[in-house]
């Protein structure tokens, strides 16, 4: 291993001893110890809420630990803010980027590097670093006009300019195409070979196995194991991470020949948001009994498409025929009228659009399911609402204190199961789900995916928008890609692969080019 190449004793680049941090409701880190050697790519593995991000924020000085010790190159240190961490040589690329959208690349980077304020000299340094590590960047560009992958490059270059000895990457690949992930790995391996240590946080097991030298696995704020990711199988890593066997979805091929239940026919719409994406001539048919997945990097028109489909953004009367539900024109209808036609929607934004956080589950059930005989003469029939909410909780294994629990008291996974259950139990004709398992733990994710597949088998047309390619390949029968507001033709999921979908996602190739390549 690189770390011991010298033969003698080398102090770890970073050593954590018994780090503890508690928040009012949870113990985020409970006696966590960790050791990273120079030049080592060290994975920290765990589910959402396992305490990985908190631990990284403690190392970077954003959050203070309640107790514990930190050693940097063998010396005890106490890091009270990120500027101090940077001075020591620690750089961090955040999961939710810490960039300023209305500033240029150079200005963004200037904010995080010390030294005289000279944007031109800085631009030259940015060019030099981005060339050296193969991360092309234009220092004069405004960040808001950049794709997620480009933004990540800005963050990485920002760190590299400080010549870090330790680079922390928090879920760096969750927003990248498979091709971009490969480029990132090359950069990281190059850094490691130059002696920089990397702390790599992820829940994606396969990529850890190819990249990382060592892995520390966390669960519920504690370290549950250490592993050599190259030797362990993904299933074994998963068991360390989840604490039990991973549930697997069963996904038989869809039955052919269902009627078209959702049809999008030449949908174009200019975005109201100046930084939004214009939709251009979107065409898609979803048949009863199939799941169509829409892949794409966020910000390529998914939100705009979703708003048009759900009815939050109804089209003009003249364009009513652009969207058809069970053959009926629906483009001009609002959300309520579309739900009346049998549409159900699981929005991406759980607490903002999916439920009202301060209301109990019963009221939240009523919000979309009131058409199912819960209201008579304008009066709410409480017993029916309670029965319906109870079924959601029972059938979809929602862990909560009861149907009177406020929505905000549920964990992300349980809340999502409740929302999915609420929509499915309304027996929709068409279900649209955006990021159905985003931020949901592995167990609940599997349950939600299985529920969608079961619903498909009842003849419902399902459209799933997701950034997680693995998820789309697991549940979709056909996959289309949205890039820069345009949609590719949907192709059979079993006849394509991540490589091809990734190329379409990057917008670098179109259907036509791919077809040429196949000839």
């Amino acid at each position: 291993m690189t770390a011991d190449a010298g033969g003698g004793f080398t102090a770890p680049r970073l050593e954590l001893r018994q780090i503890t941090k508690s928040y009012p409701a949870v113990m985020a880190n409970d006696g966590v110890s960790l050791r990273v050697m120079p030049g080592e790519i060290h994975a920290v593995l765990g589910e959402n809420g396992a305490g990985k991000s908190t631990l990284m924020k403690i190392i970077y000085g954003v959050v203070r630990a309640d107790a514990g010790e930190m050693l940097w190159n063998g010396r005890p240190v106490s890091i009270s803010n990120p500027a101090e961490a940077r001075r020591l040589g620690i750089g961090m690329v955040f999961q939710h980027f810490s960039l300023f959208e209305t500033l240029t690349v150079a200005e963004n980077i200037a904010l995080a590097v010390d030294g005289p304020f000279d944007l031109e000299a800085l631009a030259a340094r940015i060019d030099a670093v981005s060339e050296r590590y193969g991360l092309p960047l234009d220092p004069g560009r405004l960040v808001h006009s950049m794709s997620v992958g480009e933004r990540q490059r800005v963050e990485i270059v920002r760190c590299l300019l400080q010549e870090p000895e330790l680079l922390i990457m928090d879920e760096p690949t969750s927003v990248l195409t498979p091709q971009a992930v490969r480029g990132l790995f090359e950069t990281l391996q190059r850094l490691a070979s130059e002696g920089c240590s990397v702390l790599y946080i992820s829940h994606k097991l396969e990529e850890l196995r190819t990249l990382c030298h060592k892995a520390t696995v966390m669960r519920d704020g504690r370290v549950t194991g250490m592993a050599d990711p190259a030797r362990e199988s993904a299933a074994e890593l998963a068991r360390l991470m989840v604490g039990r066997e991973l549930p697997v979805c069963t996904h038989a091929p869809a039955r052919e020949g269902g009627a078209v239940r959702l049809e999008i026919d030449g949908l174009s719409r200019r975005s109201d948001d100046p930084f939004g994406t214009d939709l251009e001539d979107i065409r898609l048919r979803v048949h009863g009994g199939e799941i169509v997945g829409i892949a794409g990097i966020s910000g390529n028109g998914q939100q705009e498409l979703l708003a048009c489909l759900s009815g939050e953004q109804p089209l003009a009367r003249a364009q009513a025929a652009r969207i058809r539900i069970d053959g009926r024109e629906a483009g001009h209808l609002d959300t309520a009228a579309r739900r009346g036609l049998g549409l159900a929607v699981v929005p991406e934004d759980r607490l903002g659009r999916g439920v009202v956080a301060a209301m109990p589950l019963t009221d939240n059930a009523l919000l979309t399911a009131h058409r199912r005989g819960m209201v008579r003469f304008g009066m709410v029939l409480s017993s029916k609402v309670e029965a319906f909410a109870g079924r959601c909780v029972r059938d979809f294994d929602v862990r909560c204190s009861g149907v009177d629990a406020e929505a905000r008291t549920l964990s992300g996974g349980n809340l999502q199961k409740f929302i999915v259950g609420r929509e499915i139990l309304q027996k929709p004709a068409v279900l649209i789900a955006a990021q159905p398992t985003w931020g949901v733990d592995v167990g609940a994710s599997a349950a939600i995916r299985q529920a969608l597949i079961d619903l498909r088998d009842e003849g419902v047309a399902i459209l799933v928008l997701s950034e997680e390619l693995e998820e789309l390949f697991e549940i979709s029968d056909r996959i289309a890609v949205i890039a820069r507001g345009r949609m590719s033709a949907a192709r059979a999921a079993r006849g394509t692969d991540m490589e091809e979908i990734g190329l379409l996602m990057s917008g670098l190739s179109s259907d036509a080019q791919l077809e040429c390549a196949h000839d």
Binding site: F100, L111, A112, L142, P274
Partner: protein
């Protein structure tokens, strides 16, 4: 010619209080803090400027008192909204109401008293040049100070690292905190600067523009300053332009009234407020430019996670 010169000078004078107050508010808003108390800070500055100048006989002590009064009001606002996370809109409105009430009380004994105000500077040679002499070299010192402050604010915001940090905080306090900037501390400074500038605007009103104390003499100029910042889309040049536009129409409508054009005087008095906002809205309606220049976190409390 004489009239044109007079209108020009009067326009500068009428616009200057707005330049001070609006530039101060611009800096505060660029850091993400919406302080609706400009009117209150301005009138507090005006009353203290007048009071101190009348008692001591030293006009510059009055100006200094106004700056301190504005900053003190702003400090009150900052403690409430930045340290205790109170709602910025409500706190700002309360500050304005407080300022108007307190100034009326403090100024009770001075109502109608007149002072010999701050006069034009006397620059030999340059001031005697034909045409441009009186236009450029015989203004009062506070007007020159407003030019300096304008240049200083532009230089600070767009040419210095500190200005970049300030804009960054207004755009995304969470990101700024994540890379290690003291969000609350910098917002304090921005709000204090805004208060001092509003106080200065008040001082100009009470000591130079109309050197006498009248209750509620700011007459909504604080609100116009706020509107200038928003409708000038947070760009100092447009904000300055708006201030002089307001000043210009204020003066022209006086002349129109004097000529005896048959319009109700109330309509004419409305004109500067209306025209300024209409013009600024028309020249600044580009949505993309608004998004680039508007501080995204404006008016939202920020509490760094410990």
């Amino acid at each position: 010619m004489e009239t044109a010169t007079a209108i020009f000078l009067a326009t500068l004078a009428a616009g200057t209080p707005l330049v001070f107050a609006a530039l101060g508010e611009l800096v505060a808003e660029k850091s993400g803090v919406l302080n609706l108390g400009v009117e209150g800070m301005m009138i507090a500055g005006a009353v203290l400027a007048f009071l101190v100048a009348a008692e001591t006989g030293v006009l510059w002590l009055g100006v200094l008192a106004a700056v301190l009064a504005g900053a003190a009001m702003a400090a009150l606002f900052a403690v409430v909204t930045l340290s205790f996370q109170a709602n910025q809109v409500a706190a700002g409105l309360a500050l304005t109401i407080f300022g108007i009430g307190a100034s009326a009380y403090l100024g009770l004994d001075y109502t109608g008293v007149a002072l010999k105000g701050i006069g034009p500077v006397d620059i030999p040679v340059l001031g005697e040049l034909p045409v441009i002499g009186p236009l450029l070299f015989a203004l009062d010192p506070l007007v020159y100070l407003s030019f300096v402050m304008f240049a200083a604010v532009v230089w600070f915001l767009y040419r210095t690292k500190a200005g970049l940090v300030l804009r960054g905080i207004g755009e995304s306090p969470a990101s700024a905190h994540a890379i290690g900037y003291p969000v609350i501390g910098i917002r304090y400074l921005a709000v204090l600067f805004g208060g001092a500038m509003a106080g200065l605007g008040g001082a100009y009103l009470a000591l130079a523009y109309t050197p006498l104390w009248v209750e509620a003499m700011t007459a909504g100029r604080g609100w116009i300053a706020l509107a200038l910042v928003v409708f000038g889309t947070w760009r100092p040049g447009r904000v300055m332009l708006g201030a002089y536009l307001f000043g210009g129409i204020t003066i022209v409508q006086f002349h129109v009234q004097a000529i005896g054009i048959d319009l109700p005087p109330q309509v004419l008095s409305m004109l500067p407020y209306l025209a300024t906002i209409v013009v600024l809205v028309l020249i600044s309606r580009h949505a993309g430019m608004i998004r680039i220049n508007a501080p995204a976190s404006l008016g939202m409390s920020y509490h760094p996670a410990a």
